[in-house]
Structures are given as C-alpha cells and as structure tokens.
C-alpha cells in the first residue's frame, strides 16, 4: 500500500467518531458521578460533529478507499446521517431513564457510540470482511448494553439469548461468505458482482452460500423464521436499550442487505427473490397476528417490528431501483416511528415504574393530552393510515411490488396491514377511551419533550410533504447502485 495515495476523506466521520470516543472513554474515568452529565453532553457533541462532517463531506459520486474495502456513497451518507440523528435522539430520550436505574455511567455512552461506529463501518463497507467487522463491533456493544443492568434477571437472560443466537447468525454469515469466496474467488463486493455477471463463478457453491447469507441477514433483520430472539430481547432489555437495539441497527441491517444482495449478488436475483418472498410473507403474517394477543407493549412492538421488516422485504425483493428505494424509505420511516413509540414509553416510565403493559397507557389523554397525541400519530403512522408518513412507506412498497407484477404479494401485504391496524388501534383506544388509573404527573426533561415532539410531528410533516425524503432515497439508491 502506498501511504501517499491513502485517501482518508471518505472515512472522516468514522475517524472523528473513533477519536472523540476514545477521548470520552478516557475523560470519563476522571469525571465524578455527580458530573456524569458531562459525558452525556460530550456524546451529543460528538454526534453533532459526526453529522456535520458527514454533511460537509457528502459524496457526489461513490469513492472507494483502503484498497477497495471501504466506500463513501450517497446511500451510506444518507443512512449514516439518519443514524447520527437517531442515536442522538435515543441518548436524549434515555437520559432520565438510565439515571433512574443506575445505568447513568460512562459505559452506557461509550458502548452506544461503539455500536454506532460498528454500524458506520457496516454501512460503508465494500468488502465482506469490512462488513463483518462492523457487524461484530455493533453486536458486541449491544450484548454488553443489554446486560448493563447486572442485577436484572430478565436483562441478563435477554443478553444471553441475543448473544448465543447472534453468534449463531454470525457463524451462518461467515460460512456463507466463505462459500461465496469459494465460488467467485473474491470477498470484494464489486468483484463478486462482476464474476457472477460474467457467469464464471461456481454456481452451486454460490447458491449454497446465498442460502446461508440470507439466513444470517434475516436473523439480523429479525424476520421470520429467524425472529425468535426479537420479542425476548425487546421485552427483557431495559427500555432504553430496547430502543437502541430497535432503531438505528435496523438501518444498518438494511444497508447490510443491500450491499450483499443488491450490490454483490444482484445477478442472482431469481435465486434470492423467492427466498425473501417466503420470509416476507411469513414475517408479515406471524408478526401481525401474534402482535394482536400481546399485553406487554414492548413485546407487541417487537412483533410489529417483525411485520415491518416483512414489509421492508417486500419492497426490497422487487430488486430494482424503485424497490430498493422504497425499502430504504420504509427503513427510515420505521426508525422514526419506533423511536417515537419507545420515546413515549420512556417518558411514561419513572424511578421504580416501568411503562411496559398496554394498560399502563390507560387514560393517557386525560393525564397528558400532548403525549397522547404524539403516540396517536405514531400508532396511526405504524398502521399506515394517511396522512402520516407510514402510509407513504407502505404505499411505495406496494407500488414497487405491483410495478413488478407481484399482484398477490401486494394484496397479501395490504390484508396484513389491515390486521396490523387492529392492535395499533387498541393502543389508541387504551389512551383515549379508557379512564386513567394512574394519576401521577408525567415529568419529562425539556430537551426530551422537544425532541420527542419533533420526532412524532415529523411523521405528520413527512406525511403531508413526503416528496423530499422519497426523492432523497431514490437519488441515493440511483447513485450508489450500478445495476449490471
């Protein structure tokens, strides 16, 4: 490698993140407990810095660096910007929650930033190894985060489950990658794409590898039949960490999917399309139907996540620019929605009380009509009712499926979203139609109230004026994917 040619610019946000993270890690050792707010502030500042650098170094065309192992393109930049914003929001939402539960320590923030760094690396990878390194960095940080409350049995159990099953999925992925390597002679995504396109690879090996890759990817997304960990981890983790597992990592998983299948194995579309279709159909059905009977709202949102991932896959498996961009739009909107939903749960939790059951939301409209309205917007958006952003996400996905003549799939998705509406409506019903049992005041830090309001109202704003974000996704996909 010639050091003079080393282009560090594409990795600038990550370099900044790592540097700042190291500083925080060391500095935190010297900060006494009562001034822990400093770590919180510095973490937010770091995220703001990352977002600013990301914005200033916006790639107008894909740039590869580090011997083609790393890429900066519009897809990565858009998703990373979203991840910085959502991680910052997550830190704001969880500030009081972690303080009330003895988790307000330096590790919480450094682990969160390490997870983010892992996601950044995943998103910017143009090589299977880089992808894998990023994924492991993310996963290890998340395992530790879940187990951060050592004295909580359910959290330890969730961490253990996530760790064992996550390791299994990583194994599957690695095995799949090794087969692809055997079939094409390369781990670099663009080379793999060229070899498959030219038809010179070993097809049998490639198809076998593909099966393992799809299994591993579906595990990371939490799609059926690799979804068993999702409800347990969502329910068992402290709500703050559930939010961290459920928000930005879904964006990273989406890019993971697109880098491997969309960029690397686009020419094996016929092979993976059928697999993903089954996964998507099962995810929507099992996710939505099982969510109906849940009484724990975190578990309900976990099943709802599974169904949302099914929807995302419907867009993705179409396998063209429209399909990918609809899936990308879906992923971004999904993250906004799940952040708002868990944000409300965090706002309603306080020291010694976890807002976990649907019935804990009873009469929220009487207690505080503003938070009830925000949750109402979020729930209707998740149900896909216009004029909220969730509608356009579903609309774009169904449109892409119909464009590809997949009429039965589109109709199935539509019927499933009807079933989904039932349990979202039940949450609204609990908030608005039932009388409050718990009359205690809802105390929320002002910065959290502001962020949460902006978050939920963004769902309405993006519903009334969706054009900007939709075309942003479309342009990013167009720029980053050279469909052979």
């Amino acid at each position: 490698m010639n050091w003079a040619d080393l282009n560090l610019m594409p990795a600038m946000p990550e370099i900044f993140l790592l540097a700042a993270l190291s500083v925080i890690l060391v500095l935190d050792l010297f900060i006494p407990d009562e001034r822990r707010g400093l770590t919180y502030g510095l973490s937010l500042l770091t995220l703001a810095g990352c977002a600013a650098i990301q914005y200033l170094t916006w790639p107008t065309a894909p740039v590869e660096t580090f011997s083609h192992m790393y890429v900066a393109d519009a897809l990565g930049a858009t998703i990373k910007l979203m991840m910085y914003v959502s991680t910052a929001a997550v830190l704001v939402y969880t500030r009081q929650y972690v303080a009330d539960r003895g988790m307000f320590r330096g590790e919480y923030y450094t682990l969160a930033l390490f997870a983010l760094l892992g996601m950044d690396v995943m998103v910017s990878a143009s090589h299977f190894l880089t992808l894998y390194i990023g994924l492991e960095l993310l996963s290890l940080a998340l395992y530790a985060l879940i187990a951060l409350r050592r004295d909580s049995a359910s959290a330890s159990e969730a961490a253990m489950k996530y760790f064992v099953l996550g390791a299994l999925a990583s194994g599957l992925l690695l095995y799949g990658m090794s087969m692809v390597y055997g079939g094409t002679g390369s781990l670099q995504i663009s080379t793999i794409a060229h070899v498959i396109h030219a038809g010179t690879g070993n097809t049998v090996l490639l198809v076998f590898g593909l099966v393992f890759l799809v299994a591993g990817l579906c595990f990371k997304l939490g799609a059926v039949p690799f979804h068993m960990w999702v409800p347990d981890v969502y329910q068992g983790s402290p709500t703050a960490v559930t939010l961290m597992v459920g928000a930005a990592p879904k964006l990273a998983a989406f890019v993971f999917l697109i880098r491997i299948l969309g960029q690397g194995m686009q020419n094996m579309l016929v092979d993976w399309q059928g697999m993903l279709m089954m996964v998507a159909v099962l995810s929507m059905a099992i996710g939505n139907i099982t969510a109906i009977v849940q009484t724990n709202i975190k578990r309900m949102l976990a099943y709802s996540t599974i169904s949302h991932m099914g929807f995302l896959l419907v867009g993705f498996l179409v396998g063209n620019a429209e399909g990918y961009s609809s899936a990308m739009y879906y992923a971004i909107i999904y993250v906004l929605m799940s952040m708002a939903a868990f944000g409300i749960l965090l706002a309603l939790s306080r020291a010694g009380f976890e807002c976990e059951k649907i019935s804990d939301l009873k009469g929220l409209n009487q207690r505080n009509s503003w938070y009830a309205l925000l949750m109402l917007l979020t729930m209707f958006s998740m149900a896909g009712i216009p004029p909220l952003a969730g509608f356009y996400a579903k609309f774009a996905v169904i449109r892409a499926a119909l464009d590809a003549q997949m009429v039965p799939l589109a109709v199935f998705a539509v019927v499933m979203s009807l079933i989904g509406a039932f349990y979202y409506l039940r949450v609204v019903r609990t908030m608005y139609f039932d009388d409050a049992e718990d009359q205690s005041a809802i105390v929320v830090r002002p910065e959290m109230k502001l962020t949460l309001s902006v978050n939920a109202l963004a769902l309405l704003a993006l519903g009334v004026l969706p054009e900007g974000l939709i075309s942003l996704c479309y342009d990013a996909i167009k720029q980053s994917l050279t469909l052979l």
Binding site: I398, L402, L418, I470
Partner: protein
C-alpha cells in the same frame, strides 16, 4: 380569491381545528366553542360561492387547482368540483356548522378535542369530494377515519369501544383493496394518478371485474349496502349526536359518490354487467332493511336502519344507468336523494339527540306524549318524520320519486319493489313518531321535559328551511348537476373494452 377556493374550503376548517386544540383543557371550553363556531362558519361561508358561482353551462370540472405534490410517485394536488361533487362540499360545510352548534352545551368533557375532531374531519371530507387525483382522494378518504374513530370512542355510548373499532376496520378493509386498484390503474394509465386519465383508459373485461370488486368493497361498506351494513347501526347507536349526524349526512354519501366518480366511469362494462347484482342488493336494502327498521325499539337504531334503506334507494338509482337515456332521472334522483337524506337524517338524529339529552334514553318505550310538554319540538319532528317518509313538498319525496320514475323505465317490478319504501318508510317513521310524541304523558321524565331552547330552535329551523326549500324547489339543485350527470351517462354508455 376564487382561484384557491377549494383549498380554502378544505384547509380553513383544519386550521381552525388545530387552533381549537391549542386552547387545551376543559377550563377554557368556552373559548374552544367560540373558535370552533367561527371556524365552522368560515368554512360554510367559503363554500357558498361554490354554489353561487358554479356555472351550469358545462358539466366539466370547475374551481380547478393543480400543483405537483409528490412528483417521484406521480401524485398531484389536483382539486376540482363538478355537478356530482359540488353539492356535497356545501352540504358538509353546512353540516359541520350544525354539529358545532348542536354540541354546544351537550359536550362538557374534552370539548376542545371534540370540536377540533369535527373541524378537521370536515376539511378531510371536503378534500375527498374535491380530489381529482386518486391518491389525494385516498388520503382524505382514510384520514377522515381517524377523527371519526375518536369521536365514537371518546364521546360515545356504553359499547363505544366495540363500535369504533368495528367501524374503523370495516372501512379500512374496503379501502385498502381500492388502493391496490389505484396503483394498478396508475401503471396502466402511464404513471399518473389523475382520475380523468383512469376514466379514459381501455380495460379488458376480466380486469374491469376485478377492479369493480375492489371499488365495490370500498364503497359498498361506506354506503353501506346490504350485506356489509352491520357496522352502521352499531356506530350510530354508540356515537354522540354530532357523530351520528356527520356519519349519516356525509360519510355515507362518500360511498355513493365513489360509485359515481370511480366505479361507473372507470369500469363501465363491469358496472353494466354487474348492475343486476347491484340492483338486487339495493332492493334487498330497501325492502328488507325497511322491515328491520320497523321492529326496532331503539330510536337511533331505527333511524340508522332507515338510513341504510334510503341509501339503498341511492345505489338503486345509480345502477339503473344501464337502462336507456331516460335514466338521467334515476341518477339525478339518486344524487338528490343523497343531498336530501343528508338534511333529513341530520335532522332526525338531532331530534333524537334533543330528547336523549333530557331523558338519557333512546328507547321508544321510555317516551310517550312528548307533544304535551314539548310542542315546538314535536312540530319540527313531525316535519322531519314526514320528510323521512317521503311526503311530497319535503325534500325526501323528490329523490325517491325520480328514482322510481327511472325504475319504471328499466323494469316495472323494480319500481314496485322500490315503491314499497313509501309504505315501509311511512310505517316505521310515523309509528315511532306516534309512540314517542303522541298519546298520554307516559312517565315522570316526559312530564318534566322542557321545550327546545334557542340554540336547538336555531338548528331545527335551519334544517326545516332546507328540507322544505329543497322539497318545494328542487330544480335549483337539479340544474347544478344536470350536465355533469348527462356527461357521465354518455361516458358510461361507451364500452371501454
């Protein structure tokens, strides 16, 4: 000002609704009521030029507005009204005003949210009638479910939770398949969601049948046609008075309007082929539901079933387009019936609401001899009951008469069956009226009744004026819609195969 009139009619009520929400809790309910009244009045006044400046010289779109909205997905913010839709925008704005006045004292719990829900819903409904882009229509069509769900669920009766969820899911089921149909048509029409482009599209017969089924599921639930009507009695009984008024007067009309705007012009051959089925379903609604209404013991349920029966008349009129050119009458009759039913059903539900506020019962058996204690109210209710039974000189007569005239042209026996409504309608309405209003004072509650106050009198008088006005001079309404209906019939007469 006229260039943005439709946008104003849609968004002024919505903005006032949001403004009402900002007044907060019930300690400032008075302020919320006044803002709501100003908003409803502004919405109604803005809608009046739609009627007065509406030209009768052509049947095309008027007051058109066109802006790109979501260009990536090919969706435009395209508004316009013609003779089929204009009256409903005005009717809706008028009804919103009535609802705000009707809920003035009755709603003491979360008043601001109640008023805001109605104002926002009013804007959404206007949008659905004015939308010329299929997705824009769909957005408004679905968005109105949210406030209605809350209205039934928060301010409704004992079984409100069941009724509200049933209402929501029933309506959502139909409309989701319509969305798929829209997207299918979008690709057929060359990446546009313009309804006009859909209407000019050539479609194979089997495709037309599939699309018709999608439209049917969506709009038949909304109308509601037999046998997908079961949500309506539940929703009506549990909804507060204002909710019942808007449901009966406006939202049911969107279903019938949908048939006229989408099903007939986009899939005319399927509509013609299936018109026999639709007429049969309509006649079942007219006759069977009329009989069901007869045995009801709950006043609200009775009027709810009467609504279904009357809406059966509307769909009957619409689907007799397939006969011959004379059947401009049937379709116009259906439209007149829709407007008239908007006034009459609003009035009937309001009357029941007036009694319910005093006695807190909707059971017919709990009343008797109300005329002795509430003579002014009894006189008004008499008029509305007559209109509901289709007495000449009230608005209820005109539409039914025109539809029956149209039916005679198609098939004599259709007309005979349809005409039974004049008997059943009179029977269930007047029998209820007799049991509630006439006779000896039945109990202490009735003896303690006070006659209508000024606010209630105002509402009743406004409704009485419109019911009589429309009955005596229907030509004013028919003229507005005549050319649009002619164009529609001419368009539908041409095969699209």
């Amino acid at each position: 000002m006229l260039t943005n009139l439709l946008s104003l009619v849609i968004w002024v009520p919505v903005l006032f609704g949001l403004l009402v929400l900002t007044t907060g809790g019930d300690e400032r309910a008075g302020l919320a009521r006044w803002i709501a009244l100003v908003g409803a009045l502004a919405g109604f006044l803005l809608s009046i030029p739609l009627f007065t400046s509406f030209t009768e010289l052509h049947g095309g779109m008027q007051f058109e507005e066109m802006r790109p909205w979501i260009t990536t997905l090919g969706i435009n913010y395209h508004l316009g009204v013609d003779g089929l839709s204009m009256l409903f925008v005005v009717l809706n704005s008028f009804t919103t005003l009535i609802v705000v006045i009707a809920g003035w004292q009755v709603i003491q719990k979360r008043t601001a949210q109640y008023m805001a829900a109605f104002l926002i819903m009013s804007g959404m409904i206007n949008g659905a009638f004015a939308a010329m882009d299929a997705i824009l229509f769909y957005v408004f069509f679905e968005a109105m479910l949210i406030p209605m769900y809350l209205i039934i669920g928060v301010w409704g009766g004992p079984r409100r939770v069941y009724a509200s969820i049933k209402f929501f899911l029933y309506t959502l089921l139909g409309s989701l398949l319509m969305l798929v149909a829209f997207i299918y048509l979008y690709f057929k029409a060359g990446n546009t969601f313009e309804i006009a482009a859909f209407q000019d599209l050539k479609l194979a017969f089997d495709v037309q049948i599939m699309l018709f089924i999608a439209f049917f599921l969506s709009f038949a639930v909304k109308v509601p046609m037999w046998p997908v009507h079961t949500w309506l009695p539940d929703a009506h009984v549990e909804a507060p008075t204002g909710g019942s008024i808007v449901l009966a007067a406006i939202t049911l009309k969107i279903g019938a309007y949908g048939f006229l705007r989408f099903a007939l012009p986009i899939v005319p051959d399927a509509s013609r082929a299936l018109s026999g089925v639709m007429i049969t379903l309509s006649l079942i609604a007219v006759v069977y539901i009329g009989l069901v209404a007869l045995v009801q013991t709950d006043m609200k349920k009775l009027v709810a079933y009467s609504s279904i029966s009357h809406m059966g008349f509307v769909t009957l009129g619409i689907f007799m387009f397939a006969g011959n050119t004379q059947n401009v009458w049937a379709v116009e009759g259906a439209l007149i019936q829709m407007v008239s039913h908007g006034f009459v059903s609003a009035a009937m539900f309001f009357c029941i609401g007036v009694m319910y506020d005093r006695v807190h019962s909707r059971n017919i058996a709990d009343y008797g001899g109300v005329a002795n204690t509430m003579p002014i109210f009894a006189a008004f209710m008499m008029l509305f009951s007559m209109a509901n039974s289709g007495l000449p000189a009230t608005s209820g007569f005109v539409g039914e008469f025109m539809v029956i005239l149209g039916a005679v042209q198609v098939n004599f026996w259709y007309a005979v069956l349809a005409a039974t409504t004049l008997i059943f309608g009179a029977a269930y309405t007047l029998w209820m009226f007799k049991r509630v209003i006439f006779g000896e004072i039945a109990n202490a509650h009735v003896a303690a009744l006070k006659d209508v106050n000024k606010r209630e009198f105002l509402v009743l008088a406004l409704l009485a004026l419109t019911v009589l006005g429309m009955g005596l001079y229907p030509q004013a309404f028919i003229d507005k819609m005549h050319l649009s209906v002619n164009d529609l019939i001419a368009h539908v007469a041409q095969s699209k195969l």
